[in-house]
Symmetry: C2
Subunit: 162 residues, 2 copies
């Protein structure tokens, strides 16, 4: 298969990736928003920088760009229910999702999950659309470390712990 | 800790991420190169697109940019030894690393690991330096699926299986 890659094949191949599960959040003038994401990568430790890819098809995801900040909250094993809520299960409003979990604030105003294994509160320093997604690069302004627990992992279209 | 983030703190927090382990490869006029990486993320399925972050401090990593192609080889549980070789253990030359493992070619000429869970052979469509790393975005030109096996995962500075 050497030309256009069919989307279903790509998703099937990507389902073989094991990936940590995050809730990526923002808040500010454009409003609060949080989504479950696995497309998160470390970019640099000097200065501390990471990136997130989010679908542009959901209009509420424009709030990340508009607010100019985001937090990456790395989920512990016990947070599968929260991952499902922020992945859209139950079809709660952007605001109502935050009734689940304990949320605080640190440097940028993006919601920080108190039970996260680690939270990275970032100022958005670059944002670009690539095909269906926006690639957001953030410089980390604050780190919150929660208790050390197993990590929630998504693999083979199911949740696991490692 | 609300200003500059100390690199050691960032690395400690990142070590709580569980991440799939990949060998990212290239070949072409600039020469062959392969490195173990965990900073890999899916970007889009239409068209199939992914990204990789690689350190710019190693001169041989310029070969990815110069060749204009790369392959992401997702490692199975049994490939920990290979992951260690391509992470630099044994200090083999860029070429000698490929004596380990069975390598083939598909669309772009980047080496494809026959035992990978999945390999994504990509044309480099965007490349930019962010702090110490280069963020490379690739459009997938060919996918190779290996046997379905557990996935090799790096977490807490150790290898795991999931």
């Amino acid at each position: 298969m050497d030309s256009m890659i069919e989307a279903g094949l790509f998703r099937a191949a990507m389902s073989r990736f094991a990936a940590a599960v995050h809730i990526v959040t923002t808040d500010g003038a454009a409003g609060r928003r949080g989504v479950t994401a696995t497309s998160v990568a470390s970019v640099s430790d000097a200065p501390a920088t990471l990136l997130v890819c989010l679908n542009t098809s959901n209009e509420a995801n424009q709030r990340f760009e508009a607010n100019g900040c985001f937090a990456v909250n790395l989920l512990a094993d016990e947070s599968e229910g929260l991952a499902r809520v922020f992945a859209g299960e139950g079809a709660l409003s952007p605001e109502a999702r935050f009734a689940e979990g304990e949320w605080g604030l640190r440097a940028t105003g993006a919601p920080i999950l108190e039970d996260a294994l680690a939270s990275f509160d970032c100022r958005l320093i670059d944002s670009r659309i690539v095909a269906t997604h926006r690639v957001m690069i953030g410089e980390v302004r604050s780190i919150h470390l929660g208790a050390e627990r197993p990590c929630l992992v998504y693999h083979g279209r199911a949740y696991h712990r490692v």
